[in-house]
Symmetry: C2
Subunit: 426 residues, 2 copies
């Protein structure tokens, strides 16, 4: 089907238009319809043509820089780049202008003759990590997840939440150098673990490899060191979002994390979508977060809602080897992305273009809505029954795929880019 004719109901229609970075196979001349693909469209393969910004429409990718040049857009320089970072840094007015222009290019019939040759089938391109990650922070914003983890690891505690949980969005820094694009294989990490009965730690490949289904937020506009970013300025700084799988080795994590937090149990890989969905595409998906049960300090208090609701109604799906094991609802997150940004900077920490922060594992109230195997199998005690066997934690060869959609304008659906990854032996 030609790129312009996206089927009605396609979650990647002209109301969506997420951004990514792609290259064409080695020797590909950049013409559309090349069929020498060296990729399934989700890999991080090297080689091939120069990287360039692409915008997804249905199952095609528009070469955004080439389109901008062809149509004499003032944003041609911003779009003819090997990474999204310059666009991220350009700020909210530019983001809106570019999005408006792109919408016109892919919908106005008079552009069709110019634009159509600049599309490539998704199956014919290699997708890359779409931006250079500056700092990576991971939060812990689902009350259901935090309570589940508390019950599993601290069964005797009076409250499954730590005392600070309802007062601030808890977060910590992760390793930005190991953020990888969807499709990248994940090597099972080795490390130390020590069970309660072990006299000393043992070394070996993790035997409790897990996923965490999250949403990642991508910072565009930096902030000055020493100056907090207010709740209401969220949309001035954050460009968009994507799915994120915060792979976790539970056995490594359990032994190492007291007192300074997760380190090697997380730092081996964090997978993100190849497509960054601009916040503007998700305006129809904004919803109020859950009712706050504790009063909030002013810098976190979004009760006035002056900036509109802070939550997003994203319906996530987690599949192992193609079998859906969970459907976590992002609308249940207690802390919003705006509150997380305010928290992250309230001490004066600066933002940089390309900062990425994860929401924390998304878990709904129901057992079938939990965003990690740790919770789904209750620490391995209740293995999942998959068509290809039982799973307490991930086995080598398992392919995990996160997908999601959100309500769009006029009854449409806005799809987020999948995050997929296969577990391989080290």
């Amino acid at each position: 089907m030609p790129p312009f004719e996206v089927p009605e109901g396609d979650p990647f229609g002209p109301h969506n238009l997420p951004y990514g970075v792609f290259s064409l196979p080695s020797g590909g001349a950049g013409a559309p319809g090349d069929d020498g693909s060296d990729s399934d469209g989700s890999g991080s393969g090297s080689g091939g043509s120069e990287r360039r910004i692409g915008v997804r429409l249905g199952d095609h990718v528009l070469d955004a820089g080439a389109a901008a040049r062809a149509l004499g857009s003032p944003y041609a320089a911003l779009l003819a780049q090997p990474t999204l970072n310059p666009l991220l840094a350009a700020g909210r007015t530019a983001w809106s202008d570019v999005r408006r222009a792109l919408t016109a290019w892919v919908t106005v019939p008079s552009h069709r003759e110019t634009i159509e040759p600049l599309f490539h089938p998704l199956s014919a391109v290699t997708l890359h990590l779409p931006f250079e990650v500056a700092d990576y922070v991971d939060f812990y914003a689902s009350e259901n997840h935090a309570r589940n983890v508390g019950k599993i690891f601290r069964p005797d505690a009076a409250d499954s939440l730590t005392p600070n949980w309802k007062h601030l969005p808890i977060g910590y820094h992760g390793r930005s150098g190991t953020v990888v694009v969807s499709g990248t294989d994940v090597v099972r990490p080795s490390g130390q673990r020590k069970g309660p009965a072990d006299p000393a730690p043992v070394f070996g490949p993790s035997v409790r490899l897990d996923i965490e289904a999250e949403v990642g937020f991508v910072v565009g506009v930096p902030s000055a060191l020493g100056t907090p970013v207010a709740l209401a300025d969220f949309r001035e700084h954050v460009f968009g979002l994507c799915l994120l799988n915060d792979w976790s080795a539970r056995d490594i994590q359990a032994w190492e994390y007291v007192p300074l937090g997760p380190f090697l149990g997380k730092s081996f890989a964090t997978s993100v979508s190849a497509w960054i969905t601009p916040l503007e595409a998700l305006d129809a998906a904004r919803v109020a977060p859950p009712e706050r049960t504790h009063p909030l300090l002013p810098y976190l208090d979004d009760a006035t809602g002056a900036d509109g609701p802070g939550g997003y109604d994203l319906r996530i799906s987690v599949a192992v080897n193609g079998h859906v094991v969970s459907e976590p609802p992002f609308s249940t997150m207690y802390w919003t992305a705006a509150q997380q940004l305010a928290q992250m900077t309230v001490n004066g920490a600066s933002l940089r273009t390309g900062d990425l922060y994860g929401s924390g594992t998304v878990s709904g109230a129901e057992p079938g809505q939990r965003g990690s195997l740790l919770e789904l199998t209750w620490n391995g005690q209740e293995p999942l029954e998959l068509p290809d066997g039982k799973r307490a934690f991930l086995e080598d060869g398992d392919v995990v795929t996160l997908s999601a959609w959100a309500p769009g304008p006029d009854g449409t659906r806005v799809g987020l880019g999948d995050v997929t990854g296969r577990v391989v032996t080290g």
Copy 2:
């Protein structure tokens, strides 16, 4: 005194030659001896000429790229850069070759006429963050420090060390975007804190602002995702070291850090020296680490010493407003930098050029050797008596300076670049 004539005993003599990045004041033509300084030589000021790599000799800076060009060095392109990153990435052979060349340039009399005009007085240049920080990790490798902190915060625990402490170097990721060069003011951070008697958290500027005297290690050569770096490969990857002040807001940290570790209590600023000392300059300072009291897993076991001793005899000094309050000996660190690198990558996490990792607070066995005010004042209970008054924690206007030297060849001393910072109100 002319740059070539460094006084005997100067810790920045031709046996040292640390690398930094400098610029000249606005309008400065780059000629030596300009006296229009807009800086005390330690600031992070903007403006002025382009940034360039400098090598320190005594109280002068050699324009390394200009010297390489003037002498037709094959390393001219590597040295004519605004940051050390390309040199860091060039690898051990290049590091040795460049150091050998620089040593010749500043010591062989026949070069004097060519080289001397390419020196600038330290007082006439602005020093910048010398490399782009990729990921920043902070360790916790001093047994004295870990025991002191354990006794202060967990007085009822049977052991002041957590069970994992003697089995692996504990670490966590910090915020690389807020690593700043020596001389940068540190804005007192605000945040939530909650004392045991407070019914709810309160918000405000930290009232327990502290320092942590550490040594930072700078990674040059990257590693591949999925492939651990062995202990013996430390010197293939790590270029050099510097002093590091891991500023810490103890009240913010205490309320936030369970269960995911330090976050805003640390992320507002981390100061590093303007000068990176290459490991080669410190060969005479290598010493065996303390005897290991617990058997180590093979990937951390440096008992064979095949690669030489893993510790460094660095004599650190901590001064508040010019008054020395502590002299922490780096030789007492239980875990070595090579062990930390092996730990950081044992799960397959990759290294990037510009990765920075801190040793953790350096504290010796004696009270006058503790590397934080938390320990020096025993959580504020025993304030320090300074000439300008008592100090439990830092007050606005306080200037903290870390300095250090190590034994060099033939009885010389190798100086590390100072790390200084002034506390200012937000």
